[in-house]
């Protein structure tokens, strides 16, 4: 499946866009997505941390991702 992944803040700058396409096997987990992202964008590994949100909620690393899910990379937040 090809996911359209939203990126914000420094992740948007690292990935070169607010939304990028990532190819993943059907039924992949968040952990597998993270591994693919780190491979494709090594600078992500230099961040303090980052989380993945699926459909607007923080996801656990063993959550499965389905085609059509809204997936986003959440680098360390700094609102307020």
């Amino acid at each position: 499946m090809t996911l359209n992944i939203f990126a914000f803040g420094i992740a948007r700058e690292i990935m070169g866009g607010a939304a990028i396409g990532i190819s993943l096997p059907e039924g992949s987990t968040v952990e597998q997505l993270i591994s693919v992202l780190k491979g494709q964008f090594p600078a992500l590994s230099g961040l303090t941390s980052f989380a993945i949100a699926v459909n607007g909620k923080y996801a656990n690393i063993d959550d499965h991702i389905s085609p059509g899910d809204e997936v986003a990379i959440i680098p360390p937040v700094s609102g307020g």
Partner: protein, 140 residues
């Protein structure tokens, strides 16, 4: 019952309006936190801050904070307004206002809300200096 007012906007925030929005005849104490853009960070002169939000998720996380605060303390109203876009020194980035019958609940809930917002709400700020820029908290 607690009233919520959760908002993200690129327009300037209005403190007086936010406070009026949480006042009620049942309330005796209101605590308000106002976060503004400081002119320096660790001795470096700040030119401006740029705020970016994952808006739908940020609103949902802010709503969670308000609900969790209302579950912990007896509140009448909780308001969280956050601004996005380019902010100048002195501009208001966030306003949290909490009303309750008694001040202890208002103080605790307001502090909880800003502390938690800074940990969980997907909003990011870039500090722009004269000689560079940095995404706050991005790197160790």
């Amino acid at each position: 019952m607690t009233t919520y007012d959760i908002h993200i906007s690129a327009a300037p925030l209005d403190v007086a309006q936010c406070i009026a929005g949480v006042m009620s005849p049942q309330s005796g104490g209101i605590d308000i936190f106002v976060g503004t853009v400081r002119d320096s960070t660790k001795g470096r002169k700040v030119l401006r801050l740029e705020f970016e939000a994952y808006e739908a998720m940020a609103l949902s996380e802010m709503q969670k904070i308000a609900g969790s605060a209302a579950a912990q303390w007896p509140l009448h109203a909780m308001l969280i307004h956050h601004r996005t876009g380019a902010l100048q020194v002195g501009d208001i980035a966030v306003i949290i206002a909490v009303s309750a019958a008694h001040r202890d609940a208002a103080f605790r809930a307001c502090r909880y809300a800003i502390d938690t917002l800074k940990q969980t709400v997907p909003i990011w700020k870039k500090e722009v200096f004269e000689d560079g820029e940095i995404w706050v908290a991005a790197h160790p």
